[in-house]
């Protein structure tokens, strides 16, 4: 089992962004309070950056447990003795995977990945700013191949960029299935 957390550098960067956004938009909101349209625009921006700050705070206390059975996300609130909110997703029930890449640069360099996994139990998403994100991506890709989950072209490209070889995983999975079925089973696929 691996315990993974969002990297402190990434969390710190998002805190800085939230504070800058709140400072800029809050100052502007104060300046334009008398003007109706601008007031609502800046109020919406202030709320947006406040939510961003709150989400960053939650990420600071988020921990992922990666096991062979699945992945579990828990968010600790109120210190060591406080409550922990957790959500699990087992690899067996995984039925949808999307791996997205976001970049603020026009040449799409220097961005980050966002992995979204769904099952009947719910939805769980992880950013590549989590330590050892490659491990989670590899496990999700393996489960997607085993469960024969359809993946978009963008998701497959993004897995390839992470050096997750879906073709090898598929070949390994088919070979394992063939071994499990045995020689008699292989001769009659209806069995």
């Amino acid at each position: 089992m691996s315990r993974l957390r969002y990297s402190p550098a990434a969390v710190r960067g998002d805190y800085i962004r939230a504070v800058i956004g709140l400072a800029l938009c809050g100052t502007s909101l104060y300046a334009v309070w008398g003007h109706n349209v601008a007031r609502w625009i800046f109020l919406a921006l202030v709320v947006f950056f406040a939510l961003f700050a709150l989400r960053t705070k939650l990420r600071q206390f988020t921990e992922f447990e990666l096991t062979e059975e699945g992945i579990r996300r828990s968010i600790g609130v109120g210190g060591a003795s406080g409550k922990r909110f957790s959500k699990s997703l087992s690899w067996n029930s995984l039925d949808r995977v999307r791996l997205k890449f976001y970049s603020t640069r026009r040449d799409r360099s220097n961005g980050w990945m966002h992995l979204v996994m769904r099952s009947a139990e719910g939805r769980l998403s992880v950013d590549s700013t989590v330590d050892q994100f490659d491990q989670i991506a590899q496990a999700a890709a393996h489960a997607a191949v085993v469960n024969r989950v359809d993946m978009s072209g963008a998701t497959m490209s993004n897995f390839a960029a992470l050096d997750v070889r879906l073709d090898r995983l598929r070949a390994a999975n088919e070979s394992a299935m063939a071994t499990d079925q045995g020689p008699d089973d292989r001769s009659d696929p209806n069995k």
Partner: protein, 332 residues
């Protein structure tokens, strides 16, 4: 996506600030200001300028203040909806612009819709019927559209409308609605007159879009996954619409940011030729007469449209095709 929007918004805010500074710097760059130009003009006409009144105006509008103070006042005013004072019209900028802003907006949005609605089916037909008579004919018309300047097309349309139908096609509404408040009748009148500027301004954009979408779709249609799909017996319509068309739409979306200011600034001469009550002609005159707040407000409006357009197109692209470029590198 939440994090992405936060990143993009944080880039957008300083971008607007830098643009506002550059706009203010550029409109201040020519020597003197509107008042010194006015003094020169009066002297050239042999009249004696009222220097006391001019000094009073200079103080009133803060033109005697340092550059940075003038800039700060301008930006702070804009945030509060005060875009400054037009010296030439002797009215606040928002009163001078009036309906022109909304009319420009209507013409621009209608032009963009025209460009997309016309170019989309033509480009698909041209790409799927490459080197057919239809493709050659549409390509020829497309090149004609690219090569014909908008103002020339406007002049040609004005001439033939007058010659063949005996009608004037200038303006954007019937005479009786000019200067009147907005009403259902005025709106219908604007719609009736709208098609001519939309066709004139949109022709070159349509031609360019047809060429680009055709080329992109042809590239996609020749890729291996399409050949495989065809070999496996996928229906042609599904084979076209499912992936190749979606992939070739990216330039459409990426263009949202550029197309709006291009349409507005490209319509300046057309608005002069067709006597359109839009912002184009006013911007031109404001730049000539150094009416700095009026010109600055227009330029900020164009910059704002560009930045918002780029933001929307980036968000749409990120939602539609969140794919890494293999030459790039994903980092933490």
């Amino acid at each position: 996506m939440f994090r992405y929007i936060a990143h993009r918004l944080l880039i957008m805010i300083p971008t607007m600030l830098v643009i506002s500074f550059l706009v203010f710097l550029i409109i201040q760059l020519p020597p003197g200001d509107y008042l010194t130009t006015l003094i020169e003009e009066l002297r050239a006409l042999g009249e004696k300028p009222d220097l006391a009144r001019i000094a009073e105006m200079k103080k009133e509008f803060g033109l005697d203040q340092p550059f940075i103070v003038q800039y700060a006042n301008w930006v702070f005013g804009m945030l509060q909806g005060d875009f400054g004072f037009s010296f030439e019209h002797e009215l606040p900028v928002q009163d001078v612009v009036g309906d022109r802003f909304w009319l420009s907006f209507i013409v621009s949005v209608a032009t963009i819709l025209f460009i997309w609605i016309v170019s989309f089916p033509i480009a698909i037909y041209s790409a799927t019927h490459q080197y057919s008579w239809g493709d050659h004919g549409l390509t020829f018309i497309g090149f004609l559209g690219l090569a014909t300047p908008n103002f020339l097309l406007a002049l040609v349309m004005v001439y033939f409308a007058n010659e063949w139908f005996g009608t004037e096609i200038g303006g954007l509404m019937d005479e009786k609605y000019v200067g009147a408040g907005w009403s259902w009748g005025k709106f219908l009148s604007v719609l009736e007159h709208l098609w001519i500027p939309v066709v004139v301004i949109g022709t070159s954009g349509t031609a360019a879009m047809i060429r680009r979408l055709r080329a992109n779709l042809l590239d996609e249609l020749q890729k291996q996954y399409v050949v495989t799909g065809r070999a496996k017996g996928l229906p042609p319509a599904k084979l076209l619409l499912k992936y190749p068309l979606r992939m070739s739409l990216n330039p459409f979306i990426a263009d949202i940011g550029d197309i709006l200011p291009q349409v507005i600034s490209g319509a300046v001469i057309v608005s002069v030729v067709l006597s359109l009550p839009t912002t184009g002609k006013m911007l031109y005159e404001a730049l000539l007469s150094q009416d700095m707040y009026l010109a600055g407000s227009f330029l900020m409006f164009l910059a704002f449209l560009t930045v918002i357009g780029v933001l929307l197109s980036d968000l749409a692209l990120a939602a539609l095709d969140p794919r890494i470029r293999l030459a790039g590198q994903a980092t933490k």
